[in-house]
Every structure is written in C-alpha cells, then in structure tokens.
Subunit: 116 residues, 4 copies
C-alpha cells in the first residue's frame, strides 16, 4: 500500500479503536457498508443523462466527492481487517484485464455490453 493509503488505514484503525468499534467491523458488515455507500454515490447519477453526469455543478461535484470518500474509507478499512493490500490487488487485476481485453479485440466495445 502507498504511504497515503497506509496513513488513512492507520487513522481508521485508531478511529475504530477509540470508539470500540472493532466489534462492528467484521468483513461482512464492512462489505455491506461499502455497497450502501456505493449506492449513495450512484443515487446522484440515477436520473441524469450520461452527458449531465460528465458536467456536474460544483456543489454536486463536492457532494459526489464526499461519497467517493466514504467508499474509499470503507474499502481501505475492509482491506485492513482482511489483511489485503488493495493497491497490489489492483495492479494484479490491471495485468489480468490487459490479457482479457486485448487492444485489437476490445477497441470501441466492452464485452459485457455485447454479450448477454
């Protein structure tokens, strides 16, 4: 993990410890909290067109940023309690995706959109 993420992970750990919240922070619960926050993030966009979502008003962008933060914080916390390095996992996944979506085959089309 990078220094900034490790820093956030450490702050979250202290935050939970100070409040005796480790008891609530099972991976099951944190994964639930993560998807709840991801839903709150999506809520901002649910009635927008794609074009509108690309051109947010500043106050909306700030509100979305706060949801991005919540998702990141629960993701880091979940990774910590599971002993997973999220950046290493992401790098491994990127390598896999490069094999799964070769440039020549994937150009201009995302698989899940083409196939039922």
């Amino acid at each position: 993990m990078t220094d900034s993420l490790r820093d956030l992970a450490g702050q979250l750990d202290q935050f939970a410890r100070d409040r005796d919240w480790q008891q609530f922070h099972s991976p099951k619960n944190l994964a639930s909290a993560l998807v709840v926050e991801a839903g709150e993030l999506l809520e901002h966009f649910q009635w927008m067109t794609e074009e509108q979502s690309r051109d947010l008003a500043p106050e909306r962008r700030d509100a979305v940023g706060a949801e991005v933060a919540d998702v990141l914080l629960y993701l880091i916390r979940l990774a910590t309690v599971l002993g997973i390095d999220p950046v290493a996992a992401a790098q491994a996944k990127l390598k896999l995706n490069a094999l799964r979506y070769p440039v020549d085959r994937a150009r201009g089309s995302i698989r899940k959109y083409d196939e039922p």
Copy 2:
C-alpha cells in the same frame, strides 16, 4: 493523490484510451459499475456469519481481494473523470467523522444501529 494511486489512475486512463473506451466511462456508467462490483464483493459474505467473514480460507481471501481491486479501480477511474482527489476527499471526511462521532458519545455504539 498519492504516487501509487496516481500511477493506477494513469494506467487506467491509458487502458481506456487504447481501447477507445472513454465513450463508455461517463460518471453515471462508472458509478453503476462500481456498485455492481461492490455487490460482487458482498456476495462472498452474504451467507456467512460475521465470525466466518473474519476468518476466510486463503483461496476465498484471494477471490475477495480481486473484488476489492475491481472496486478500487472503478473508484479511481470515476475520481479521475470527475477531477476529484479521492485521498483528499477521504481526509476531509475523516475530519468530519471525528466531529460527528465524538469518542465519549460514540463508544461501543454506531448511530445508524441505534436510530431508525
């Protein structure tokens, strides 16, 4: 953003560019993809007890790690297209949470669990 996250953001940008996928990467679509991946992460835990979720078999932990990676990658990509710094947003949110959940009041109890 930290160097490692900036690095991932740059790789994702190149990945999308190489495949002409920027057209699909509207914030609306990326937020959908994010919640879909968060759901796949939660799926691992849905029938487990909290205790079981704290003690995963190695192959399960790896599978969960791959979902953590997917969530992180879409989160970084979404932040990039919106021009949001996710680490700065997370640091701001942590400060806010420290005010919202004062140690003495929040000890041993999470608000959303106490209040309907």
Copy 3:
C-alpha cells in the same frame, strides 16, 4: 398480499424449510442477497446507453427477467421473515409519493436530479 405473491411466499418458505435454510435467512442476510441480485440486474445495463436499454435483444431480455425474478424472490422472502405485507407497503408509499411530487411541481423534472 395478493394470491400470487402469497403463493410465491409459501413456496419460498417450503423451499427453505426443506433445505434447513431458515438459519441463513436472517433479514440482514436476505437484504444483502437482495442488493447483490439488484447489482446483477444493473450489470446488464451498466455500459448501455439509455436508448439501448429500452430496446433489448430477446435473449438479453430473458436474462434480465431472470434477475428481476431473483430480486422479487428475495424481496418476498425478506418481507415474509419480517412480517411485512409488501403490496400494502407499496400502496402506502404510492400515496406518500403523490403528496411529495405534486403533478404541477414535478412535471418534467425529478427532484433528486435537480437538487444536490
């Protein structure tokens, strides 16, 4: 609840009983399973334009129908274990929505899209 929904609820109850699955069917777990299935439903649409989502190929529509079914089944099961009548709750919510979104104010615009 209507006869058809009561029928589905009864079949689900028997299904769980036959397999000794009531132990897994806590509201917490069923709500997780529900959001996981809702994510699988959304996955079909995540890279589509809205226009494409309005005009599905038959095999895609069938696949989407199977996800709609999963969501409905978990929703009915959750309502059963909680002792909630989902149709009565939906009728109550519709009445509330009629007050919340008066025709003259709501015409052509959905609140959550207008307000941050």
Copy 4:
C-alpha cells in the same frame, strides 16, 4: 402478473404519465434506482447482528417496510417498461432453483457459502 401487482403497475404508469416522467424511466435508470433503494434497505441492517435483524423494534420495522415498498415499486416499474411478467419469471426461477439445489445435497448449506 397478479391483480394487485397489475394494479400497482397501472398506478405507477399513470403516476409517470401525469408528471411526464417516462423520459426518465429507461430500464438503465430504473435498474439504478432499484439498486439504490436496495442499498437503503440494507443500510438498516449493516451494523446489526443477524439476531438483532430478526427482532426489529416496531418503528424500525415500519422504516424497513417503506424501503421494501420502494424496491417493489421500482421492480414493478422496470418489469413494466421491459414487458416482463415478474411473477411468471419468479415461478420459472423457483423451478430452476429446485433443480439447482436438490434437497438432499443442499440441506443445511448454501452453495455460495461453501465455494469460493
């Protein structure tokens, strides 16, 4: 579809028509709204133990019922705009599940919990 669900579907159709909301009700948008509401439903349970989720206070149960209603309403609306009969789809899925989870093999254990 049963009479009660057809009734709800008709009311939702009129509701959208009266407000000129059909433009927002693409399957893509409705599937997003559905997962957002499913997340709000899960939020009630995220920090509870399974035991607590089985024994809700009355006001909590009412609040959960309102979220169950939202999920059902968006599910019915999505089925309507796609021309899917949700009850028929659920009956078909139940038959499939009976084959997938034979009583003798599935007793006391849910597959997704056993297999990574």
